[in-house]
Amino acid sequence: MKKAELQMQETMLVIFIVTIIIGIALFTFYQIQLKSIEKSKVELEQSRNLILLETLPNSIELSYSNLGNEQNSIDTLKLLNSNSLNYGFKDISIKQVYPEINGEIICNKQSYPNCNKYVVYSKKLSKYNSLEVISVPVSLYFPYTDEYKSAVLEVKSYS
């Protein structure tokens, strides 16, 4: 009887240890999966930001066209209005880089055209884990003087 009890206890101990090992394995697997999903999420967000950067200059809210023909530049007069864009938690701005203007002057109906920074969209997160900043050179068109100037379109993405 004692031997049988001992055998039973051994079996239960083995099952207990196997269960613990399976538990640890599952926990590790779960952690790896979680990291993989996090990585996918970051990659997805990065690709979305790149596409946004690529397509935004041609959107109707920003693009300049001459008699209906797209000119691959941004109409500065359109930037002076508030727009209905919604891109989540992002900061999107355009900064004129050439000709250079000293300091940072935000463009609005009063300061235009003697300014150098246009805020296209701004919705910040007060607390965030990561901030991704990407930018692309763009051309700014000034309708009153019929001039083109160089600028940088910058997208800051909070997560």
Binding site: E54, T55, S63, Y144
Partner: protein, 275 residues
Amino acid sequence: MKSQSELNWVFILITGTVILIFFVSFAFKYKSLQEEKLSLEILNNLDNTLTSLKSSPYNTFDKINLPIEIQVTCNEIKLNNNNFKTNNLLFSKETLKNKMLIYYKPFKAPFKISDFYLITDVNTRYNLVYDESTKEYVKELIDDLPQDLKQKFTLSFKTPLLRHLENNNFKNVEVKELKDNKIKINNFQIPLNKDLAYAAIFSDNFECNFNKIKQEINKAVNVYQDKVNVVRQENCNYYSFISYLDQLRNLDFNAVINIETLNQDLAKKSCPTLY
């Protein structure tokens, strides 16, 4: 002693079965999770590919091989029962398989309003059924399509072809009653505009898409009305645009020619143009 040994075997059998069931169910759940992840990745990549076409100011035609059947609705692309919400205006048949044909064209009236994606697959054929009023118009519509899409169309006067064979791969599209700058496509009346006509021909659910188009027109009109309110230049009149823009907002496409004329007048006077 013998009964104890039997009890041990029963115990091991039950425990083994429980562990086996656990692992098998885990394997199945993991498989379905991976499939779901893969589907969403494919749909996301597809949507990104479509969105990238927006960076082109020109009409663009492209083909994409589809390893698996996908469904396109007004707001979503579906694969294996997984939905992916899209903001792109996709005018497509509901089920696409084998090879997807995409014709991207900016929708202009007269300025750019939105981006249209006319989508079909390699198997589908269309028969445009016209009447006296639309005879020339449907010919023009087909002539303006890329060669690969042109081949998909046949024409018939008043009578739908092979009605009994109409299915997912063969569609009769009725284009009729062109009058007062309006046209009926599959009994849905739309303003006379080629881009809208294409959208109605290619779309299986045009009613829903048309509501999205109306929103896009509204958005574009707001952008240009805002610009009218900002632009100031001596001897240049921008306020005449306002009433025509309102007309356009109400889907009166007669305003298009007036907006075009006003814009050209501004260019002649060396004023900054509206668009």
